[in-house]
Symmetry: C2
Subunit: 213 residues, 2 copies
């Protein structure tokens, strides 16, 4: 296919495609004339991956380059390639030592294999610390429930990662991890409404009766 | 207590407390001299609620006023008061009709009692539409799994809402709904690492072997 079709199929504008070619993120096509080149499905997959990393994961060019080399290096496990794509964002101040130690103890107790320097340990610690500062500490039983339910969700998600190519697996993981968050968040809030409408509406009726006595 | 202690206990600065008093969001204390007034626990609860609505739910003053009147009106069910606190944000463009109809069908199929004009129906529809536009449509089985797991999570969350006072219930729901999101998100990502390290690491080994053949 020509560059225009490559652009149409990936929804990446032609000037951006040319930029990626110049920067070496995308391998050159096979030249068919002085000004034309032919591209194939490998280019489509690679461009989709670059787009997912740039647009959704919000990575800088040098970070994208790092992920791509992890994807290309067959000696890097797919797991590590995914980690390098997804661990790069999630910035933020370091949490206090006590809360971080609480998170580490939790992960150990759950028996989860999560690297010591995963940024998500810090994100969780910061969130737990802010709940404490608001006088709404998260009860340990609730954290255990979150761990168990989200482990079930994550299992189904990891199972759905395509293993057809390393590029597709990484694209799927980036899109799945980042773009699925609003799906989970909105379903959770609808579930709150559903449960609360059955439970608290009833409670309010009792309160109203008591008030009228 | 005096205004300085009220400020310290709620972490709301004194000038802000005075502003809420002037705006009538907070009832005046009992005057003990020309320049002093005495405040009580009701003021503490009310200020905590205003703070949660302003800082975490990001509501404007007129929206906060609306939530407070829902909290104060015993004829309004607690469920509706919660809805008025949590339904006010989540802005965004209307989703396309087809995806919105898909969400409505889903909620009907699940048998969930969610109001037709809940903003979370639109949020979910927009998220699903963006996944379709990226060639990663969400499979219906996955949505069903999310619905079932998040219903379990939401049940435990709604059960943990304190029923000691309407104010505390709303503060708890606002903090719980909004500030717990980074907790869920970071645990989910750690679960991905945990599961993927066991599964994909193994897969990568097989791929590497095949490459070497």
């Amino acid at each position: 296919m020509q560059i225009s079709e490559l652009s149409a199929r990936t929804q990446v504008p032609v000037p951006t495609v040319k930029y990626y070619l110049r920067e070496g993120l995308l391998a050159p096509g096979v030249a068919t004339s002085a000004t034309r080149a032919e591209y194939d499905d490998q280019h489509v997959r690679r461009l989709r991956l670059i787009r997912a990393l740039a647009e959704f994961a919000g990575l800088r060019l040098d970070q994208i380059r790092g992920v791509l080399s992890a994807v290309d290096d067959e000696q890097t496990s797919l797991h590590d390639a995914l980690g390098s794509a997804l661990g790069l964002h999630a910035p933020g101040a370091a949490p206090d030592d006590e809360t971080r130690a609480r998170v580490d103890a939790l992960v150990r107790r759950w028996g989860w294999d999560v690297s010591e320097d995963s940024p998500h340990r810090d994100t969780l610690a910061r969130a737990l610390a802010s709940l404490v500062s608001l006088d709404h500490p998260m009860p340990p039983e609730m954290l255990d429930l979150y761990g168990a339910e989200l482990h079930r969700i994550a299992t189904a998600e990891v199972e759905s990662v395509p293993t057809t190519s390393r590029e597709e697996a990484v694209v799927h993981a980036v899109i799945g991890t980042l773009l699925v968050e609003p799906v989970l968040s909105s379903i959770r809030k609808m579930a709150h409404e559903e449960i609360s409408s059955r439970r608290l509406a009833h409670h309010a009726v009792r309160t109203a009766h008591r008030t009228r006595d």
